[in-house]
Amino acid sequence: LFSIVAFQFEEEFIETKEDLEKLRNDGVLLFQQVPMVEIDGMRMVQTRAILSYIAAKYNLYGKDLKERAWIDMYVEGTTDLMGMIMYLPFQPADTKEKNLALIIERATTRYFPVYEKALKDHGQDYLVGNKLSWADVHLLEAILMVEECKPDVLSAFPLLQAFKGRISNIPTIKKFLQPGSQRKPPTDEKFVAVVRKIFNI
């Protein structure tokens, strides 16, 4: 979400258990957890809180309470979908295939149809209020993640295909999608091992 407002940000990577312990002992993690984002004098934790703050600060949260409600609903949907994908690499090997199938099923029967319909009903370029918002960024991220699981997953969703093309071409997003940006690659086995080690899971 930072990238879209051409906001530069620094990153500190936790690589070892000791790195995490130090953060905890230094009292910088409100609930002993990451993500943690230092912004405007606050040490923010809890992903949704962080994202809400950024969205509001940079005018990506709609123009009133009702638009915000719609953005929140849409974002919670894509969060549920991306949550499934996030956990996939950590699941037992013998359940991976079943879980992957469930992700695709949910994407194509529960989530994508909602966004396809939203775009169809109002015929506008963006999900809410005819203006780029957090919901659009989140949906693009979700689409790309699901496509990594199944490349042709958008085949039945023409408006989402157009949406993907449009949002990807926004200059700041286009830049984020290019090599050398701060975007991180898909989770691989090496990353899974590091996570397991650091968080003792």
Binding site: L30, F31, Q32, D40, M42, M44, V45, Q46, T47, R48, A49, S52, Y53, A56, K57, L65, K66, R68, A69, W70, D72, M73, V75, E76, G77, D80, R110, Y111, V114
Partner: protein, 222 residues
């Protein structure tokens, strides 16, 4: 149609209880529709009422809202329980998210396999006493005010109150190391809208029992 918000969920706490708390705390009357059968649930889906085919559903201000967090944020925003500016909102959001993680453990507890129940109960106790309650104890101690954020009653206070009572149902002496939270609990209990909600006959739902678990499994069966 009365103009009051209408809540659709099972007749039990589950994911709707925080919504009941927040509306009640804001002094807002609401109606409830209870899901008792799979057929009722399937009909809601078929009729297109549920954006992502899930409940909770709250019909409010002409919207059919789903997704608990979205619903709670809207109510908080509408009834001035969301702080006075972006930074206060950020604090409220952080606190509420932390509490939601703790409440999630309690939500899932009745559905854990019998042989995992003791371990899960220990986790709830451990997280409450070592991760979450200390944070709020410290916040209250540091500013010495009655409420968590901005010296004003907010969504965060309601959520914390709900969590304290929910954990106490499982771990009765859980607040013994937290004097500020004990005072907080008393103060919240005495706020008129909350006091009313804590009395018999209010929309507050009882702790989940075997019948509730059974109904959940039945209604949401694939």
């Amino acid at each position: 149609m009365s103009g009051k918000p209408r809540l659709t969920y099972l007749n039990g706490r589950g994911r709707m209880e925080p919504v009941r708390w927040l509306l009640a705390a804001a002094g807002v009357e609401f109606e409830e529709v209870y899901l008792e059968t799979k057929e009722q649930y399937d009909k809601l889906i078929k009729d297109g009422f549920l954006l992502f085919q899930q409940v909770p559903l709250v019909e409010i201000d002409g919207m059919k809202m789903v997704q608990t967090r979205a619903i709670l944020s809207y109510i908080a925003g509408k009834y001035n329980l969301y702080g006075k500016d972006l930074k206060e909102r950020a604090l409220i959001d952080m606190y509420v998210e932390g509490i939601a993680d703790l409440m999630q453990m309690i939500l899932m507890f009745p559905f854990s396999p019998p042989d995992a129940k003791e371990k899960n109960l220990d986790s709830i106790k451990d997280r409450a006493t070592n991760r979450y309650f200390p944070v709020f104890e410290k916040v209250l101690k540091q500013h010495g005010q009655d409420f968590l954020v901005g010296n004003k009653f907010s969504w965060a206070d309601v959520q914390l109150m709900e969590a304290i009572l929910a954990v106490e149902e499982k771990v009765p002496a859980v607040l013994s190391g937290f004097p500020q939270l004990q005072v907080f609990k008393t103060k919240m209990s005495n706020m008129p809208t909350i006091k009313k909600f804590l009395q018999p006959g209010s929309p507050r739902k009882p702790p989940p029992d075997a019948h509730y678990v059974e109904t959940v499994l039945k209604v949401f069966k694939k």
